[in-house]
């Protein structure tokens, strides 16, 4: 996907367990380095011991098998093996203790004033709901989770169809979303930044491109963002945008998508009320700009085969005639104009 060449989206360390941005990931990372060091040492010692054994054994050309090794030698080597076994046991116990300590630390990262967010996994995108005691102040978005820096976030994870797994490695470990169960996941971002996450449990055709972003920003910036998400979509400002809205409402778009403030209230696809404010399209797969948006609307099936966004390739090609004609070139242009301004 060459559309992705934009340097803004170089995410090399934005989805890495070794680049922690919060206390949870940091604790795990610390344990990782401990176990890594112990393991590396153990491996080196075993391989060295093997070589030592090979080259310090009694290499003889004589192949007469020694079926009753000398008891004395056996006993002394027995001690070595026994001591090594005991040492191994002690190290293992140490690692277990370290593991438990890490688990305990992660368990204890809870906060009273946690920000509650519902994340619902769909094939193959993420629905995000910001919870508020007043129902009308809830905000809904998709594939992009904004969180305030320094405040614990409590995610409630649900699946709409198959098993997914929520994984933003810079922030914390993964948690499965299993239909019929509700899971929770707490994390905190300690520094601002854009982090990427991805579905980690195989979930069908577009498992590979089921990504999302976590945008950690200063609390006031976050508050402003959240307030904006609560507002309905902007009203079309010029004829082209008006036409675009009409296209959106009168064609297949509105059957699945919601734009708040309009009649479009489809629930099976991501909420597009503030689409233009998002950094990516198609579940953190494409950079959000007019050309990718156009490509995504016209031919989503070749970008992400098997996904649930209908293809408009034929109708655009045929100029929007006939029963399948949902979009023609002008419609598309107007639609892009409209969607591109849904800040």
């Amino acid at each position: 996907m060459s559309l992705f060449g934009d340097p803004h989206f170089a995410w090399r360390n934005a989805q890495s367990a070794l680049n922690s941005a919060g206390p949870q990931a940091a604790r795990i990372e610390a344990y990782w380095w401990l176990i890594f060091a112990v393991s590396a040492l153990a491996l080196i010692l075993v391989v060295l011991a093997m070589f030592y054994a090979l080259f310090h054994s009694r290499r003889r050309s004589d192949l007469e098998p020694e079926f009753r090794p000398s008891p004395k030698l056996e006993r002394s080597r027995g001690w070595v093996v026994g001591i090594l076994g005991a040492v191994t046991g002690v190290i293992l116990l140490g690692l277990i203790a370290g593991s438990f300590a890490t688990d305990q630390a992660l368990e204890s990262f809870t906060a009273q004033d946690a920000l509650s967010i519902d994340v619902i996994g769909h094939q193959w995108w993420w629905e995000v709901q910001y919870i508020d005691p007043v129902p009308s102040r809830r905000a809904s978005t998709a594939n992009e989770i904004h969180v305030p820096v320094g405040r614990t976030v409590a995610l409630t994870l649900k699946s709409h169809d198959v098993i997914h797994s929520f994984w933003a490695p810079n922030l914390t470990g993964k948690q499965d979303l299993i239909p019929g169960h509700e899971a929770t996941l707490n994390f905190r971002a300690d520094r601002a930044g854009v982090f990427r996450g991805q579905c980690a449990e195989f979930c069908g055709y577009q498992h590979a491109y089921m990504g999302f972003l976590v945008v950690a920003e200063p609390p006031d910036q976050f508050a402003a963002w959240l307030e904006k998400q609560r507002a309905p979509a902007m009203t079309p400002a010029n004829p082209s945008q008006r036409r675009g809205q009409e296209v959106f409402l009168s064609r297949d778009c509105a059957l699945c998508h919601t734009i708040q403030g309009t009649e479009a209230s489809g629930k099976t696809a991501p909420d597009l009320t503030h689409l233009a404010g998002r950094k990516t399209l198609a579940a953190a797969t494409l950079a959000n700009n007019p050309s990718t948006l156009a490509a995504w609307i016209v031919d989503p099936q070749s970008l992400k085969p098997g996904n649930h966004m209908p293809s408009h390739l034929q109708s655009v090609r045929l100029g929007g005639d006939g029963p399948s004609g949902l979009l023609n070139q002008e419609d598309l242009q107007a639609l892009l104009d409209y969607l591109g301004n849904l800040e």
């Binding site: 699945c256 070749s302 399948s324």
Partner: protein
Amino acid sequence: MKILRGVWIAMLGAAALTGCEREERNFVEPPPTSSAVESLRLSDLRPGPSSPPPAAENSAYQENAYAISEGQRLFSWYNCAGCHFHGGGGIGPPLMDDLWIYGSEPQNIHATIIQGRPNGMPAFGGRIPDYQVWQLAAYVRSLSGLTPKDAVPARSDHMSNESPPTTMEKPSPKMTGSPP
């Protein structure tokens, strides 16, 4: 060993005739095929000399497991299930019986979805891509057993099993209607 190999090849050959297309997953939209719609008949009664029946088009959809399951998904996404439920009907007529008001051919169903029908069926023309309409038609036909059984999904996980719960006692046959 040769015999086995032969048997295997024969099996493959036989299965290839039925299997391959049935499980094909076509994600790319094929060209629209709506031209067939106009020539369709809705009645068995024909004046004049007899003519051959129209050949069913789009068998790629009609016998394809993926198309049928996509149709099943769309059937609920586009709220078809809101009126027709899981085929038993309610606001709209039942789809799992063998009574077809506007014809049971894929083209008939395609036309019904696209054009709508006067007694309450909305027209989805211009609102659903053509290939999805064919997928829906395939699923609708599968409800009444018009598609091969091995291409049809067993059931949906969502309360489509027919079995009645045995919770409550069976209705007693004698119901006098008089006070106890």
